[in-house]
Amino acid sequence: MVLGLDLVEQREAVRSRVGLLGHSNGLYTDLTITENVAFWGATVGASAEEVSAAVERMGLAGRLSDVPVRKLSAGQRRRTALACLIARRAELWLLDEPHAGLDAAGRDELDTVLRAATAAGAMMIVASHEMERAGALATRMVEVAGGQIRGQIRGQESGTP
């Protein structure tokens, strides 16, 4: 069960409530930040206000919001992808190596964004090889190998996400 839904029987319903951010950002590089966030928000019927709020929350408002994604830095693209997740009203964020490809400043910036998102109610599962950085973000840490949980590093299971 994920978010109270059967992952096998209700796969499409689960998908619409889960946001995945992998190594790629899922952005259209010819479109601006606002156009990308508006597109992804529109897939769940998000209003223009919700889109603006998502862009602002990720620190992408102002002149930057009208810049095509292809002209952005890796960190700004990552923030745009996270703004898309917010506009999509994702309840469960699955982040696969979210710090990959970012410099030190970009990584710190991303951590700040993730903390702000969890503080606002989002739930996150982060897959990372960087134990120290992931540990600073996590309330629960497990070691996974071969698709199985091999050991509890920190925290306790408190039910399904």
């Binding site: 619409s16 790629s24 899922g26």
Partner: protein
């Protein structure tokens, strides 16, 4: 979100990307124009060019379509957007029809310009009697090409060597459109020995082709894209 709403959303997004990047104007149109000019050099007989102009226009359209289809899926695959759409549970039917609609619109623009080029380069004549047949056949052919192009573009998008694989898979499948659209255009322009009534029969073939690929694509596009991702 309904499939129809997704269709409108994806089509508008694809057309906005095209307007922004101008690939159709800067890359596809010059390619198509050069193809038309080379046809003229190769045949080099005014009478013959007038007679084969409909076929040359549709051949140039098919070759140019390959570039448009590859571009349409390159923007999706570049940063994993198509995978993200499927993971987000966006209906595959909406994505399929949206991309097909955007492709059909681009092909219609291209065909309009290619027909204009044919009138200039090949001295083709058009008395206006078959204008409705010409427009209907172009619409039906563009819809069919958009639907089949999107289906095969989705099929090859995650594969290695997709640039060479797409023409190999797609060109044989669009042969009925080439034949049907050429015959209908010949009837509309009054070249060859095809009557207007026969021209409408070819349009019926084009419509049937578009319907078949519309139904097949709406069923198969999602699993195809999911499997190749």
């Amino acid at each position: 979100m309904t499939s129809f709403a997704v269709t409108k959303l994806v089509a508008a997004k694809d057309l906005r990307i095209e307007l922004r990047s101008r690939v159709l104007i800067n890359q596809v149109l010059p390619f198509a124009a050069i193809t038309m000019v080379l046809f003229a050099f190769a045949l080099d007989q005014d009478d013959l060019l007038v007679r084969v102009a409909p076929g040359l226009v549709w051949l140039a359209t098919l070759f140019s379509m390959l570039v448009v289809v590859q571009r349409s899926f390159a923007v999706e695959a570049g940063d994993g957007a198509l995978d993200a759409l499927r993971v987000a549970g966006v209906p595959a039917q909406g994505i399929y029809f949206g991309k097909a609609a955007a492709l059909a619109v681009q092909l219609l623009v291209l065909e309009t310009l290619l027909f204009a080029a044919a009138f200039v380069l090949y001295s083709s004549r058009f008395d206006g009697a078959g204008v409705f047949l010409l427009i209907t056949s172009a619409l039906a052919a563009s819809c069919g090409l958009g639907l089949v192009g999107t289906l095969y573009g989705g099929l090859t998008t995650g594969t290695k060597g997709r640039e060479s694989l797409l023409p190999l898979l797609l060109l044989p499948v669009v042969a009925p459109v080439l034949i049907g659209a050429t015959r209908a255009t010949e009837a509309a322009l009054g070249v060859g020995r095809i009557s207007m009534q026969e021209g409408w029969a070819w349009v019926a073939l084009l419509v049937t082709y578009a319907l078949l690929f519309g139904i097949g694509g709406s069923i198969g596009f999602g699993p195809l894209v999911d499997d190749t991702a």
